[in-house]
Subunit: 367 residues, 2 copies
DNA sequence: ATAAATTTGTGCGTATGTATC
DNA sequence: GGATACATACGCACAAATTTA
């Protein structure tokens, strides 16, 4: 048979069309010349044209529409796996499901699937998860760093992502060494500030703070707490602040609160790291015969279901969780499409909102 | 052109061959009849045969060897993608996160990654998700069918999974046509029975039931409720049962309870579909000045956070969610390793457990 | 070792059906 | 309704790889 370049005719035709699409001669959405026209132009039979087109169709470059013609399909970058990875510290904890939902909503709409990993907030698991992801042909990554306050010893994995040109977006926090990378965070300093300021405005002065210290969120909420004190000209007393690690989560906050009560440390309000801790602390207070909000005001953080439906509706800080997920997904999509940072209009910081419920009470005039 | 069944000839031929492969008539490694032979046997042109074969080749079921023949491909187990897919109706609803966590724990340990999809309980999304999964090279699938009470119109996708030898496991329910497939479900009849029996044993007789009716879980809990009544020889009164659809979730239960109160329907206990509904109903009772459990006993279902931490700790039914996920994962791993059903020791039904808290009270002797 | 037969791969021409404009 | 274009289908011819006589 007639062969040029030692290749089949249909193959040559296919390659020619592919080149035109790559060149931009045929642009996404364009109609490709009809089979008969191509057959004349290239001097081959219509059957041969069809063979060539069928290959391009399999590859997803073009799509035939019965009775209308054949059209160039929207070009998918690198013909990739259409997978992205999402790594979070937890997946069943009370805010992550909605976060993941937000990411999934956006990504599903764009035809991507999510490979989900969780780290239990452990660096070792994060390393393992990243290692895993490297073998999986993903086009992008959304990651919530574990224990983001602590120096990261596996930066090489992120460097590898850069090398492979796989974009990634941090949520909730970044690593100090990677602070220039795109990230979406909630303004937890502002949140900590807002809720502490609210208590100060209610007349409270002996405000105990309870913060988790091994992630950025806790650190920021703590900073906001301090900021409010400074603004009111009240000295910050480290003795009244409980800082705990993930491992002590279940015990330390309650123990310390009981300790404060038992040793007579003045305390008329407590700012808690989140709603969960607030609930546990309330339990501890109740065990010591203290009532909320009559004796002690208490605040949560996250506006979780617990805050709404708990024994006492909690004054807390709301932050849009699905939206955080959606924004992270949109930002990642921008990166995947090569949009430079300067052109991005997606905000990187989400503002928190104070939700006032029934767990705080104005303090009487006397000191 | 000549068409039978309204289908194209090549399509019929393709389906016939597919069936033979699925049946085992054509086994992996076997040579399938030559194009000319098939063309004679089926009374179609060789071109048509080739069209049919090309589809099977695309799908990876057969492979042609120039000058030798066309062979049924050996299904490559192992060495695979190390990915499995998980399709659930929701991911942020209050039991799914823990379910997914359970699956992930087991799968991560075995070195698998999870591709997560959710359907929002829509058949259309389920179809789309399955289609997506087909292109992703997964080694297995765990799926919670959407609206499992309704007949499934996209069985062909499950047949395709069978053909490709990709094992799948149903959770929470199956489709009527696929009831022989491996599945893990919670015994919701037993759960509904246990909690209703508990109320009957406390001496309650006027027990209102509130159940969601458009999924299998609600239907089963309702059945258990009826079973308990029968066992106690108490007539089942449909007038005292509220059946609602997902869409009316937020309004109907509360409205009906208020209606019962306002019209003087005797009611000294309420069995609720889940904790969420129980909480809302308690709100409604409180608005009418009724106290729980003094005036009316109430039960939930799911043993969610709300049940533990709500205004009144709820008597409810616990079902191990992570364990459901873990068992589904283990069952899938068995399937992926070719363990036949007879040898499996993983239980397929998870027993519910009654959790007694403070929302129910023994009824006084008098009627 | 060679030739013949078999089987897939490529290519051409034609005809009819059907959806869209 | 008519024109256009894709979808399906048939028959034929020759090339290339492999098996078999």
């Amino acid at each position: 048979m007639a062969e040029r370049n030692g290749k089949a005719k249909y193959f040559n035709l296919m390659e020619a069309l592919k080149k035109d699409i790559a060149n931009g001669m045929i642009r996404p959405g364009d109609k490709i010349p009809s089979e008969n026209v191509l057959s004349q132009q290239f001097g081959v039979s219509r059957h041969t044209v069809r063979k060539a087109l069928s290959i391009l169709e399999e590859e997803g470059l073009i799509a035939a529409q019965h009775g209308r013609g054949t059209f160039c399909i929207k070009r998918t970058r690198s013909g990739g796996s259409r997978n992205i990875a999402v790594i979070t510290t937890y997946i069943n904890d009370y805010i992550f499901p909605r976060l993941i939902q937000g990411i999934d909503d956006v990504m599903t709409e764009k035809g991507y699937s999510i490979i989900l990993k969780n780290t239990y907030n452990s660096r070792k698991n994060e390393e393992k998860a990243l290692e895993d992801i490297m073998t999986k042909d993903v086009e992008g990554l959304i990651i919530e760093p574990s224990k983001s306050e602590i120096f990261c010893r596996h930066i090489h994995q992120y460097e590898e992502l850069d090398l492979k040109d796989i974009p990634y977006v941090f949520i909730q926090g970044t690593y100090p060494q990677l602070s220039s990378k795109p990230s979406i965070t909630m303004d937890d300093v502002q949140g900590g500030y807002l809720i502490t300021k609210y208590l100060l405005e209610l007349g409270h002065r002996n405000i105990v703070g309870i913060f988790k210290i091994d992630d950025m969120q806790g650190d920021h909420r703590h900073k906001g707490y301090i900021k409010a004190f400074n603004e009111f000209g009240i000295p910050y007393d480290p003795e009244r602040v409980v800082l705990y690690h993930t491992e002590d989560r279940r015990t330390k906050p309650c123990l310390m609160v009981k300790h404060f009560l038992d040793t007579g440390v003045p305390m008329d309000a407590i700012v808690c790291y989140n709603d969960q801790v607030a609930l546990e602390v309330m339990q501890a207070l109740s065990e010591r015969g203290k009532k909320v909000p009559e004796d002690i005001s208490i605040t949560g953080y996250d506006n979780s279901l617990i805050a709404q439906n708990g024994p006492i509706p909690l004054t807390t800080i709301a932050h849009p969780k699905e939206q955080l997920g959606r924004m992270a997904a949109q930002l990642l999509l921008e990166k995947m499409n090569g949009v430079p940072d300067e052109e991005s209009k997606i905000p990187r910081i989400i503002a928190p909102e104070l939700i006032v419920r029934d767990s705080c009470r104005r303090r009487d005039g006397k000191g």
